[in-house]
């Protein structure tokens, strides 16, 4: 089986750009990806686009054709929605299309405009990734849901707010050289512990910010990359997706994320690699506890073991399992529909030696991207590798 190549990447800065429309955000990222790829727009055959809350934030449904138009493409365009895993799902579908030989070049991306509706509005919009009848009406917010999971984790496996604070400190440090990151400010463990509570036991610094931004990649078939002589050495060699019960209370576990276990197992098998082969990881740290759960689902740690990884320096750029060198959602920012593709871009840059942290890595060959929706009722995992 051939592995689709990443021909070009594009990002907007992530941050608070409340007056920028979604279409303008995506146009910037999409055009940057096309320019970076050097693929003529006429060769692009489709847009696979991720977005979660466009109806609520911009009163705009049916966004995909709008976004294709915004980047100057006259192609079939489809929006994928899997909450915060929307563009991870879009990448997966594009990989299948390219592998099947039905297409040679696809623009895949996502965008989200969030800050224009304010913190309360965005909290409300994010909450609809949960079960409206049986969770939202009981006061469940997105931070609240992860707080329920964090309390269960502490009780089941141990760990503390201080352990989670180290995740925040590490990801803030990682974001410092990332020019696209929303928060480039180092924090201390005390800063994190003293921040206001959002949903006990999670405080403000356990949570990712609310972010406007967009991301895009041009994915091409291996054959197209060879034929056109593209400089595209990074391939998506594995894809996986998992699902779980929508409502947290209907799950077997509150302190584990089986949908991501399944996605990871499928992606590893697809790529023919295992957790021991992974050199760098970008995981969905919408909250500090989510990074812990992700590392365990990816098999990089046993259940109950990842909570101390940041405190012990293992997930730092200089550690044994460098994780979220972009700053993660926590500091890079989390424009929901753009996040899955932004993670792919972060890994691609690391594997090409084009990250500010590349000097701390020893020739990474295999990277993994973990993108989660809701309280991980949806998860996608992608394996990226350097091909010769």
């Amino acid at each position: 089986m051939t592995a689709p190549r990443i021909a070009g990447v594009g990002l907007t800065h992530f941050g608070e750009f409340s007056e920028r429309t979604g279409r303008d955000l995506f146009a910037e990222a999409g055009l940057a990806a096309l320019d970076d790829a050097g693929v003529p727009p006429d060769d692009v055959e489709a847009l696979f686009y991720g977005n979660f809350m466009g109806e609520l934030a911009e009163h705009q449904g049916h966004q995909a054709p709008l976004m294709a138009e915004a980047v100057g493409l006259d192609v079939p365009a489809t929006r994928y929605e899997a909450a915060c895993a929307s563009s991870g799902a879009a990448v997966r579908e594009a990989v299948f299309r390219l592998r099947s030989g039905e297409a040679d070049a696809i623009l895949v991306g996502g965008s989200e405009r969030m800050t224009n509706i304010g913190t309360a509005g965005a909290t409300d919009a994010l909450s609809i990734a949960a079960d409206d009848l049986y969770e939202i009406r009981a006061g469940m917010t997105f931070p609240g849901a992860y707080a329920l999971m964090a309390r269960s984790y502490f009780r089941e496996y141990g760990g503390s707010r201080e352990d989670l604070a180290h995740v925040a400190v590490k990801n803030h440090e990682h974001a410092m050289p990332n020019e696209y990151a929303q928060i480039r400010k180092e924090i201390t463990v005390d800063d994190a512990l003293e921040s206001p509570m959002v949903a006990d036991p999670l405080g403000l610094y356990d949570a990712c910010p609310i972010t406007d931004g967009a991301s895009a990649v041009v994915l091409v078939s291996e054959e197209y990359a060879e034929r056109e002589g593209l400089d595209a050495p990074i391939a998506v060699t594995g894809t996986g997706q998992g699902g779980d019960r929508m409502a947290l209370h209907d799950r077997e576990y509150y302190a584990r994320t089986p949908a991501a276990d399944d996605a990871a197992a499928e992606a590893y098998d697809d790529a023919g690699v295992g957790p021991a082969d992974v050199d760098v990881a970008e995981v969905h740290d919408c909250f500090t506890i989510a990074e812990v759960l992700a590392l365990e689902s990816l098999g990089l740690y046993e259940p109950g073991e990842a909570v101390t990884a940041a405190r012990d320096g293992e997930t730092h750029a200089t550690g044994s399992m460098p994780t979220n060198l972009s700053g993660g959602l926590k500091a890079k920012g989390h424009p929901v529909g753009a996040t899955g593709v932004a993670q792919i871009i972060s890994i691609a840059k690391l594997l090409r030696g084009r990250s500010a942290w590349s000097g701390d890595l020893d020739d990474p060959r295999v990277g993994i991207a973990h993108n989660a929706g809701g309280t991980v009722a949806s998860a996608t995992v992608h394996v990226l590798e350097v091909m010769e």
Partner: protein, 128 residues
């Protein structure tokens, strides 16, 4: 919100809880769910039976939500909890107890209360 259409089995369940006749649906294998369900997502059984909700359940996990959505603005800070009733687990608002007095495993009963912000109904737990 009074002009809103009822949400079928959800509102039926809340009506039943008000009458002290709460229930869940259960398949032959003992997997319990909140209605509406036409099939057990665990085992695929379509033979689901309405089963009385036990008088009390145990708090499994909880959080005090300080940053709320607009629909809960005046409720905040409030406590959301997941309570285990045996075959079925339910998320609701935990009232009638201070956050620092809650213990995982403590028994609570289920009732229906009003949300302070909107007056909408909500599933509410209270210590037993």
């Amino acid at each position: 919100m009074t002009d809103k259409a009822r949400d079928g089995e959800y509102d039926d369940l809340l009506d039943a809880i008000v009458e002290g006749e709460g229930y869940y649906v259960e398949c032959d294998a003992g997997h319990g769910w909140l209605p509406p369900r036409r099939v057990c997502p665990d085992c695929g059984s379509r033979d689901l039976t309405e089963t009385p909700l036990p008088d009390s359940g145990e708090v499994e996990t909880y959080t005090t939500v300080s940053v709320a959505t607009p629909a809960f603005a005046e409720d905040a800070p409030y406590i959301t909890a997941i309570v285990d009733f045996g075959a079925v687990q339910i998320t609701g608002l935990l009232r009638g107890i201070a956050a620092d007095e809650i213990e995982v495993g403590m028994p609570v009963g289920v009732t229906v209360g009003e949300r302070e912000t909107t007056g909408d109904r909500a599933i509410v737990f209270e210590p037993r």
